[in-house]
Symmetry: C2
Subunit: 335 residues, 2 copies
C-alpha cells in the first residue's frame, strides 16, 4: 500500500505551553512527558503502515529549523505564511501526488494518542473507506462537554464509517452538554483520510482559489483562501463520512491538560524531580531543576533555563497576557 | 577610639532561605535584595567608627570559605563546631584582646538595618555606657506581638541606658500581646556591647567552663558550655543594661519577611524580572530568570540554577521539611 501517505500539520504556534514553548519551539517540537517530542511520536506511531519517508510535514518559517532537526527521514514543506489548514493541506497534497502517492491521512503534529495499535487500525479502516472517493474524518468519542472543540453529528448507517449530518462549531457549554448527553456527536480531532483525487475534486467544487493554485501552491500561496479545511470543504461537501474512534486521544490543549497524559503523583503530576509537602493537584514541568512545593494546590509550575511560570491551573489560558506584556516590555526574545 | 572592635556572629545555618541558602551558603552570605550580602553590609555599616580591620567574624567550618571571600579586610575565626553563642563570643573576645582591643560590639551577621546613622549613634552610646563596666544590650522597640524573639523588660531610670529587669524567652502569643501593649518591653535583637574585662568577669561568675577555656579557646573548645550568651550570662548578671533603639531593624527571619526590606511592587515584592497578571502579595527571588505569575496570591517563589521553590507564604517555615526529604532522598547536595 505504498500509495498511502501522511501529511502532518505542524504549523501551530502553541503559546499555551509557554515558557517551554517559544515562537521557534512550538508545542509540536516539545516533549511534554520527558520522552520524544509530540511531532516525533506522531510520525513513529504511523510505522510500519506509513514509514517516515512517506510522511510530509507542513510547518511555518519560524519553527522550520526545529522541525527539520526532528524528522530527518521525512519531507518538510515550509508555508510562506500561516493561512489556516486548507492551504497547508493543499500544499501537502501536491507533494504527495508529485511523489506518486494516491491517498493520505491528515494528522495534527501535537496530539497525544494512548492506544497506538487502535489508532493504526482506525487509520487502516479509513484508508479503505476513502478508496471509494469519500472524505473520511476520525471522530473521537466525547468524554466531557468540551466547548473548545468542533463536534460532528453522526448519521445513521451500517459499516465502519457513517455519513456526517453536520459539523457543530465550538458550542456553548449548555449545547455541549446536550451534545454529550445525546450520544450522536463525536469530537472533530482534525484527523482526515482521503485520496488526492477526492480532495482535489472537493477543492474544485468549494475552494476555487485553492484548486487554481494547485499548479504551483508555493508560488500562488496568497491566491488560496485562508480558511480551515473544516469550514472550506468538510462543512460543504456531500461525501464526508466519519469513523468513530476511541484510542486515548488528547489534544493536550494547555498545561492544565497534562494530567490526561502523565501518571498521577502525590503532588499532582509532572516531569522532573519534585519534592512536595502538603501539595495536591499541581502540574509541574521542570526537567532541568528540582522543584519544591510547600502547601500549594492546583498550580502550574514550569521551569526552563531562562523563565519560570507559576500559574493557577484554572487560569492557565491567561498565559497569553504574559506574552503580550513581555512583547510590550521589549522582552520578545523570551516569547 | 581604636580600642572599639566588633565581633560578628556568622555561624547560622539559615535553612529558612532555601533554596537560595545552602549548607555552605547560609543567609549571611546571601544578597536578599540583589545588592551586597547581609554580612558585607553588617561590616560596612560600622565604618568609619569601626573599620573592617577591627572586625572579627566568627563562623562555622561549612561556610568559612564563603565568609572569607566576602570579608578580605577582617579577621575570620572558624569554630570547630557549633556550640551556641557564648563560646563563639568568647572566641571573638580572646582575639580582640590579643589584638589590643578593649571593648567590642557583638552583632549578628544576618540582620537588616534601615537607618544606619541611627544604628551608629546607638552603638556609640552603648560603647560609652559600657566603658563603666556594664553589659549593654540594644533593645528594639517592638512593632508586633512577635513570638519568635526574646523580649527584655526595661526598668526605671534616667539617661541613655536602663537597667534590665528580666529577659522573657520566646513568649506565647497572648503573652507577647500583653508585652507589646504594656510598653515596658523591647525585643532582644542579639546586639551587645561590653568591655573585654566586663565580659570575662561575667564568664568567671556564671560560665566557669568558658572562663577556664579563655586561655586557648580553640584547643579547649568542648570545655565551654554550649549555651547562648543570653541564657549563660545576661539572664544572670546584675550589671546588664539596655539602650532602646529604633533604626529600622529586621532579622528577616524567612522569605515571608522579605516585604520588610524590599519595596512593594504590583505583584508583592521581589528581586528579578517579574511579569504578573492578577497576582498580589507574592515574594519572588529570581535574580537569574524571568518569573511569570498568573492568578496567584501570597506565594513565595524562589529560583536558583538548580532548584525552584513554590510555597505558600504563611507556610514558609515548612521549608525545613523539604530539606529533610531531600536528605532522605539522597539529594543532600541540594540542601
Amino acid at each position: 500500500l505504498a500509495e498511502r501517505w501522511a501529511v502532518i500539520i505542524a504549523g501551530g504556534r502553541g503559546t499555551r505551553f509557554w515558557p517551554l514553548s517559544r515562537r521557534t519551539r512550538p508545542k509540536q517540537v516539545l516533549s511534554l512527558d520527558g520522552g520524544p517530542t509530540l511531532l516525533e511520536r506522531t510520525i513513529t506511531r504511523l510505522s510500519p503502515d506509513i514509514p517516515p519517508e512517506r510522511v510530509v510535514v507542513v510547518t511555518g518559517p519560524e519553527m522550520a529549523a526545529s522541525v527539520r532537526d526532528l524528522v530527518p527521514g521525512s519531507v518538510v514543506l515550509v508555508e510562506p505564511s500561516g493561512r489556516n489548514t486548507a492551504p497547508a493541506i493543499a500544499l501537502g497534497a501536491v507533494e504527495v501526488r508529485r511523489r506518486g502517492g494516491a491517498a493520505f491521512a491528515v494528522l495534527p503534529a501535537d496530539h497525544v494518542i494512548g492506544d497506538e495499535a487502535a489508532f493504526r487500525g482506525a487509520l487502516d479502516l479509513a484508508f479503505g473507506e476513502a478508496a471509494g472517493g469519500a472524505l473520511l474524518t476520525l471522530g473521537v468519542r466525547p468524554t466531557r462537554p468540551e466547548t473548545g472543540f468542533g463536534w460532528i453529528e453522526v448519521g445513521d448507517g451500517e459499516g465502519a464509517s457513517r455519513p456526517v449530518v453536520r459539523f457543530v462549531e465550538k458550542p456553548a457549554l449548555a449545547v455541549a452538554e446536550s451534545l454529550l448527553a445525546g450520544g450522536r456527536h463525536l469530537w472533530n480531532a482534525g484527523m482526515f483520510v482521503w485520496t488526492v483525487d477526492a480532495l482535489v475534486a472537493a477543492f474544485q467544487a468549494f475552494m476555487p482559489g485553492v484548486a487554481a493554485a494547485l499548479s504551483d501552491p508555493l508560488a500562488r500561496w496568497t491566491e488560496m483562501e485562508a480558511t480551515s479545511i473544516d469550514y472550506g470543504v468538510l462543512e460543504k461537501a456531500p461525501n464526508v463520512r466519519v469513523i468513530p474512534v476511541d484510542f486515548g486521544w488528547s489534544d493536550v490543549g494547555s498545561w492544565s491538560a497534562l494530567p490526561e497524559v502523565l501518571p498521577a503523583r502525590e503532588f499532582g503530576c509532572g516531569v522532573g524531580e519534585v519534592v512536595a509537602v502538603r501539595s495536591t493537584g499541581n502540574v509541574v514541568h521542570a526537567p532541568g531543576s528540582l522543584v519544591a512545593l510547600v502547601g500549594v494546590d492546583n498550580l502550574v509550575v514550569v521551569q526552563t533555563p531562562d523563565a519560570v511560570l507559576v500559574a493557577r491551573r484554572d487560569d492557565a489560558q491567561s498565559i497569553r497576557q504574559i506574552l503580550e506584556r513581555l512583547d510590550a516590555l521589549g522582552l520578545g526574545h523570551l516569547t
